[in-house]
Symmetry: C2
Subunit: 269 residues, 2 copies
DNA sequence: GCCAAGTTATCATATAGTAATAACTTAAAT
DNA sequence: ATTTAAGTTATTACTATATGATAACTTGGC
């Protein structure tokens, strides 16, 4: 067994249990003991005991016939507790609903989470992909209009560091993988106060984002709108979406308490 | 320290860690070490080590000035993994979106989770309460139209047992606390194929639910719609909502694999 | 019907979590 | 300002608890 940390305050058993939970994702929707063992790198016995415990505690479902484990409703209950804990959600939600009704298009609340964007709340319109309807999805911040709109509010040197080092991932043939281009996009976003991206995560998808700025001008979150380029050209977007998007973002008072970066230790990548 | 279980496969440390996670809810959005200790019943030292570990692993945020812990984005990432693992979600989501656009009102996907209903996906319209916009919320099954619509598909003796023993909770002065009345409601739902409830969770809220039946006729989930009684009388609901609601529920093929009850051990209450 | 792969159960051992205590920090009170 | 209390971090000796190897038992594939 690989020692994880030589700290007396660190409870390795708990960390191992969390590894089991995190073994599940888009492609691993249900796992057997041996698969869990392979993915987590934990030995069979440990996985057996930990998975069994998680099952008893209601944090893993177990198919009685296939003996395969899968995420339980308990995972959604945790999400529910999260929503109450984040003061931004309650402030933003009503305005987001208004916006989605007005536009009739997909509207999201996006937050910076480490070096990624997490869509915390989603109000999907028609013509969206499945993944785009699910809260909790994360994508590299640099790849998204929301991430760019947020980074545009950062002081120059932090912005530069992020553009240089934060991860990129290719989702479509058109995904921008060139950091210089991304730097330009973010510069432009800083000028005009919003960011528009094309074909980054899905082909023919246009992402439009406007940062939610704090009193210091800095943002950790953004209002995001996603439309199809088949139905919306740039002129129409400028005329019929941007004004409302700006209004919405400006109408949401950010979590004023937070003056420094959120500390998402362990949520690297 | 209270012994939790005398099973060699049970990892008490992990269970304690989960207790910490579950200490957070609507009213406990951020907690100090001492508060965590009080709520979980774990001693100070244990809470210190477990919370510290969860923080390092990215499953708890910690405010550096107040030293208070709160749920992290990691909780939403788990929810995201859950959504992929439940095959019903992908089948239902597109139809729910269509329905919400057509009705212009709040639409939910509700599932039976132990003796409660959990709203797994929500497409809120205007005029909803904050809690009603959040996925992962649970309420006693007997209190909701969705729960009643689902129970109406159960065989008589199981239905009766549920009506007798499952929990009730008062949310409004009008919340039905009489089990005989609930039995009648469920009987009616079995006749007409849907359930309508008034003022159960919020005053002036009408809940309308239609079960998603499996090949055996039994349901574990429901499509749910919530409207304001100020804007919708029973006639209009019957004419303008019910037909679409039925169509939607019937158009969603349920998770055919599952033939017996989901086994949500530990999610009692 | 057999074999391979995977899952459950058992158990001696020492590692790894425990709980008590002490050192330190912050906020409140006088 | 100074003191006090409450709460948080750090340390340590101890032993309860998780470990991992192995064995018994299922299940499904051929």
């Amino acid at each position: 067994m690989t020692k994880i940390k030589q700290n007396t305050l660190f409870v390795g058993t708990l960390a191992k249990g969390l590894r089991i939970l995190r073994a599940f994702d888009e492609t691993h929707t249900d796992l057997s003991l041996t698969e869990l063992s392979a993915i987590t790198g934990l030995d069979k016995s440990a996985v057996q005991r930990l998975a069994h415990t998680l099952h008893l505690e209601g944090m893993l479902d177990k198919d009685p016939t296939t003996r395969r484990y899968s995420p339980s409703h308990g995972w959604l209950r945790l999400a529910y507790a999260y929503y109450w804990s984040d003061p931004l959600i309650a402030r933003a939600m009503p305005k987001l609903i208004d916006l989605s009704q007005r536009l009739g298009e997909t509207v999201n609340l996006a937050q910076l989470s480490g070096q990624k964007i997490i869509y915390t709340n989603r109000l999907p319109g028609t013509r969206t992909t499945f993944a785009a309807t699910l809260p909790g999805r994360t994508v590299p911040a640099l790849c998204t209009s929301a991430g760019q709109a947020i980074l545009a509010t950062f002081p120059p040197q932090e912005r530069a560091a992020a553009i240089e080092t934060w991860p990129l991932e290719r989702y479509t043939p058109q995904t921008t993988m060139d950091r210089a281009t991304i730097a330009e996009e973010i510069d432009r976003a800083a000028q005009i106060g919003h960011s528009i991206s094309h074909d980054q995560l899905i082909l023919n998808e246009v992402g439009i984002a406007c940062a939610i700025r704090g009193p210091d001008g800095r943002a950790w979150s953004a209002v995001h709108c996603s439309v199809s380029s088949h139905h919306w050209n740039d002129d129409r977007i400028r005329a019929e979406i941007l004004p409302w998007l700006h209004d919405t973002a400006n109408a949401i008072p950010p979590s004023h308490e937070r003056t420094s970066a959120p500390h998402h230790i362990g949520l690297k990548a």
